[in-house]
């Protein structure tokens, strides 16, 4: 599925990622943990093609196809989805309009027909119900005036609607109370499957109690400093990131 090799990334000439190598096979959920400033969000942005992140060395491929040369929308159409740490407010665009425009753009890029209005509404209603989202909320401008928790839930809603193959969750637990966290985690877990893979970026172990990873990696000093099973997350929770900071 996703294969990153020796990835070096700079922002404004400052190296952030310094030789990151990571493989996430289909069907697996990998967590990336690390101290603030380690480059976790940089990794999510460089995989999705945000401007300002310069790849100076290395590769990232999805099922063998080079991701880094594609436009952000092309990566999205191939199934890469990023749940933002800070979802944007989109004034004047109802959530449903935004998602339908995105969905049809993806379909067009893949050479598929547009979804019909009734089919879209049916899908949206069922998906909203499963995530306990009030359907009326989807008629409002996307994320405008939404609480932090509502915005995160809208990210998961969009993810479920767009049905991506490779999911990146960037600090999805921040701003969520425990009830909202469970709903969001249920939504994410419902998407686990043999044809999908996930990269869960988190600072705290808490989220991983609800979205159980197959592998845990520590990102420190711009590269993967350690990897292990789920127990590594508990170890980090107990001992912190100090030893990696020193090593970096």
């Amino acid at each position: 599925m996703l294969s990153i090799s020796n990835l070096h990334v700079e922002i404004d000439g400052k190296p952030i990622l310094k030789g990151l190598t990571l493989d996430i096979p289909a069907g697996e959920v990998h967590a990336i943990m690390g101290p603030n400033g380690a480059g976790k969000s940089t990794l999510s942005y460089v995989l999705t093609g945000r401007q300002g992140y310069e790849v100076t060395e290395g590769t990232a491929t999805l099922d063998g196809e080079d991701l880094l040369s594609l436009e952000p929308s092309e990566r999205s159409a191939r199934g890469v989805f990023l749940s933002f740490q800070y979802p944007l407010e989109i004034p004047g665009v109802p959530a449903l309009t935004f998602i339908r425009t995105a969905m049809n753009a993806q379909r067009k890029a893949r050479g598929e027909a547009e979804i019909t209005a009734p089919a879209f509404l049916k899908l949206a209603k069922a998906t909203a119900a499963s995530l306990k989202i009030d359907f009326e909320m989807l008629k409002r401008a996307l994320n405008v005036g939404f609480s932090g928790g509502e915005k995160k839930r809208m990210e998961i809603f969009q993810m479920a609607m767009l049905s991506p193959r490779f999911l990146i969750l960037d600090e999805t637990d921040s701003g969520l109370d425990i009830d909202a966290l469970k709903i969001v985690a249920d939504g994410v877990n419902a998407m686990r499957g043999p044809d999908r893979a996930m990269l869960v970026i988190t600072h705290y172990q808490r989220l991983l109690d609800y979205i159980k990873p197959d592998r845990v990696h520590v990102l420190a000093g711009g590269r993967i400093a350690d990897s292990g099973g789920p127990e590594l997350a508990h170890e980090l929770e107990r001992e912190g990131y100090d030893k990696y900071a020193r090593a970096a």
Partner: protein
């Protein structure tokens, strides 16, 4: 100093220009060294404009001709479409008198059109809305790229009267659409909205002056603009609250997007308050495209051009959604989509 007086006397020194504070950004004196000869009478089938099909009474005027007078006493909404076209070049000056009687309800769908010729067009409207009367005025200006046009509306409101107005324009070589409102307070309310979508070398100036003269008046203003290429947008909004016009509630917003390095916006929101107990606020933002929102939309699958169009349309859409008349709102939506190249 006005375009009307300059046209009347063929004296270019009477044109307003940058030495006049209110015209410093829309300099006609510097632009017009000579005034074109009077426009020729138009022979042929006159265009009826975008609103004719929506109206109880469609009126269309080419190159000025006779003064237009509309008097409405109908309590049920009565729709008048008023279309002014400038065709074949030359200069002309038109007048219109709009009277909404006490308790009457008029929907005035006004539109301007110009061809590719060099022309200078002036329009002066005198509008009165009687006590508890209501006027919804939509102005859709579609001037030619070589046209110079000025439209000035003087509005006088009675007690309890309502004026709701939306001006939509894509500019001209030089263009000004000005609305001046004598607001008596006394439960009268005013909504003055506008949108300008400019490209090429076009220029549009939306100027408004509202004078609150008595107690308990409200004014709400929202203007949005998008400028591209080498175009220039001007917004001048003045709200004056006279001494004694207490409990006035006045709010003004002007927000604009600059989509190219060579485009320009000049904005002057002004609140002049001489009363003590008032609520007045203004907001003015001018900026580039929100790149974060753009990336967010792209990440969800929209190619950059689709994402830009969606976000820009939404930006302008806030003004268009406030248009109450259903048919006019649809015309405005189509206008915006075309203006944004959707």
């Amino acid at each position: 100093m006005s375009l009307a007086s300059a046209l009347k006397t063929s004296d270019v020194t009477l044109l307003p220009g940058k030495r006049d504070e209110d015209w410093k950004w829309t300099d006609l004196r510097g632009l017009l060294r000579v005034l074109p000869p009077p426009s020729q009478p138009f022979m042929g089938e006159a265009p009826v404009g975008p609103f004719a099909a929506l109206a109880n009474l469609p009126i269309h005027v080419v190159n000025a001709s006779d003064p237009v007078v509309v008097r409405s006493a109908s309590a049920a909404p009565y729709v008048v479409a008023l279309h002014f076209a400038a065709l074949g070049g030359g200069s002309h000056s038109a007048t219109a008198q709009i009277e909404v009687a006490e308790g009457a309800n008029l929907i005035l769908l006004e539109s301007y059109e110009g061809d590719d010729a060099d022309y200078v067009a002036n329009l002066d409207l005198k509008i009165t809305v009687g006590a508890n009367g209501r006027l919804e005025r939509i102005v859709l200006a579609a001037d030619g790229a070589n046209g110079v046009s000025v439209s000035t509306a003087d509005v006088t409101l009675g007690i309890g009267a309502q004026l709701v107005q939306t001006v939509l324009t894509d500019g001209a070589r030089r263009q000004r659409i000005e609305t001046r409102v004598a607001h008596p307070g006394a439960g009268a309310s005013v909504r003055l909205d506008g949108a300008y979508l400019l490209a090429g070398k076009r220029h549009a100036d939306l100027t408004t002056v509202v004078e609150h003269q008595g107690l308990d008046g409200t004014t709400s203003q929202l203007t949005k603009g998008v400028v591209r290429d080498q175009s220039r947008g001007v917004f001048q909004g003045r709200i004056l609250v006279a001494k004694g016009a207490d409990r006035t509630d006045a709010r003004m917003g002007h927000h604009a997007l600059i989509l190219s390095d060579k485009a320009e916006i000049d904005a002057k929101p002004e609140l002049l308050i001489f009363a003590d107990d008032v609520q007045c606020a203004h907001g003015n933002t001018i900026g580039a495209f929100d790149e974060d929102a753009l990336f967010y939309a792209q990440q969800r699958g929209m190619p950059e051009d689709v994402a830009r169009a969606l976000l820009t349309e939404a930006f302008v859409g806030e003004v268009i959604d406030r248009i109450e008349h259903d048919g006019a709102r649809e015309v405005a939506k189509t206008w915006a989509a075309k203006g944004l190249g959707l």
